[in-house]
């Protein structure tokens, strides 16, 4: 079966494909499903180097000592394929692709490899709502994350999004202004 290899190549080389996936023309779930639907066959070749030999390098990872690798400590890598074992297996662990800037923000692919097979493909899309984890990791010195409070305090006035006059009458500022004279 060549299809898994093609899909994996797509993961690493085909940013456009992934953008398409993100936008719904090809749901990302399909990628994982395509890979995991062939549990008996390891992903041949290193990503980006589809095997052309036609002969599976290993028939079954569970039966082939050459592809069984002790679980490696998961590491973050920008080029997951470059360090793959020469025998064509993939190292166990989670591997993040490079961040890709595109029209709607930043995209980063992370794959999870177990026993030479890709078991999960995740696309993290930064630029809309899920940037907070990355922001945290950067530990910007001037930035603090804290619990969103909801307090009722004695205050002179309230800063908030522009409200209509009607909304004003029913919201906190009017109460404060009235009470504060």
């Amino acid at each position: 079966m060549r299809r898994p290899a093609a899909v994996v190549v797509g993961v690493f080389l085909g940013t456009v494909l992934l953008v398409g996936a993100k936008l719904g023309t090809r749901p990302p779930l399909d990628l994982g499903a395509a890979v995991s639907s062939t549990p008996d066959e390891p992903v041949p070749g290193t990503p980006g180097e589809p095997s052309a030999s036609g002969s599976p390098r290993t028939a079954d990872p569970s039966g082939s000592p050459t592809t069984r690798r002790s679980p490696a400590k998961p590491t973050k890598r920008s080029t997951p394929g470059s360090d793959a074992p020469a025998d064509g297996g993939l190292r166990t662990g989670s591997f993040a692709g490079g961040t890709v800037q595109y029209k709607y923000g930043t995209l980063r692919i992370t794959i999870t490899v177990s026993d030479g097979r890709i078991t999960d493909v995740r696309a993290s899309h930064h630029g809309n709502t899920r940037v907070s984890e990355e922001i945290n990791a950067e530990a910007l010195p001037k930035l603090r994350k804290e619990a969103l409070a909801a307090q009722s305090a004695r205050i002179a006035t309230v800063s908030g999004a522009t409200y209509t006059s009607q909304a004003y009458r029913t919201s906190l500022p009017s109460a404060i202004d009235t009470a504060g004279g």
């Binding site: 630029g127 930035l143 002179a156 309230v158 908030g160 006059s165 919201s171 906190l172 109460a175």
Partner: protein, 259 residues
């Protein structure tokens, strides 16, 4: 602008002086509304937008606003864009600017202690007087102005309380009027952040920066973190709260008001 403005002049000025200053302040804000509103067909801004008015014929105030908008556009890498909606609409700057001018004039006129709130954009100066009547319990001692930042989904609650003697506090948010801030690059309503507050010395600038950060979406957090000379607070659509380390928050809000 069609929004509510509240003015609080503190201190010990005679009542007649306070009334005069209040009339002058509201007169100025009404005047700005007449000339800069995009909702009034014959406003100066609309006539400029329809090219019935040429730049040399613009009022000094409008030229000031045009230049400030151009500066903001540069300072925000185009994220503050008075043309984001496809027409010229400087509202993201005008309200803050108008209140800033009003506050400056109050200060010049001897009203050093005041608080103006125009639709959620706030300028406070000096100290808050202890209000009338029962405030003898506090012995009449002056207190700092306390400005709450509204909670995005609980209109009766605040997320932070700020205190200071000279603060311009501008908030842009999507929770009141929907996603009205447009991402100028995608030309679509901005998402990611539901509330951005910028605190500085100039309310027009703070207003423009808050609008720009909201337009950026979550990437605005990083941009805000690098914004010099200002403090800020932001809440994501997911309800995560961020703020700058130097935001003048009141950490312990002890004198709670019942309900």
């Amino acid at each position: 602008m069609g929004t509510a403005v509240s003015l609080h002049i503190a201190g010990s000025l005679p009542a007649s002086a306070v009334e005069t200053l209040a009339e002058r302040t509201f007169g100025w804000l009404r005047d700005v509304d007449q000339r800069f509103s995009t909702y009034r067909h014959d406003s100066e801004v609309n006539r400029l937008d329809r090219r019935e008015l040429r730049y040399p014929d613009c009022s000094g105030d409008l030229r000031t606003v045009l230049e400030a908008c151009a500066d903001l556009w540069h300072a925000t890498d185009g994220w503050f864009d008075p043309h984001a909606t496809g027409r010229f609409d400087p509202s993201g700057y005008v309200k803050g600017w108008a209140v800033q001018v009003a506050s400056d004039r109050l200060l010049e006129s001897g009203a050093a202690d005041h608080c103006i709130n125009a639709g959620g954009d706030v300028r406070v100066r000096g100290v808050a007087s202890v209000a009338s009547g029962s405030d003898v319990t506090t012995g009449g001692r002056p207190s700092r102005w306390r400005v709450g930042i509204r909670h995005p989904w609980q209109s009766e609650r605040v997320s932070w309380v700020l205190a200071g003697a000279d603060l311009a506090v501008a908030t842009s948010g999507s929770y009141e009027r929907g996603r009205h801030v447009v991402d100028p690059f995608r030309r679509e309503p901005a998402t990611g952040l539901c509330s951005v507050t910028v605190v500085g010395a100039d309310l027009g600038l703070a207003d423009g920066y808050a609008t720009a950060a909201l337009a950026m979406g979550a990437a605005g957090l990083r941009w805000l973190a690098g914004l010099a000379g200002h403090e800020w607070a932001a809440i994501t659509d997911d309800g995560e709260a961020y703020r700058s380390a130097g935001l003048p928050v009141v950490e312990r809000v002890d004198d709670q008001r019942g309900g």
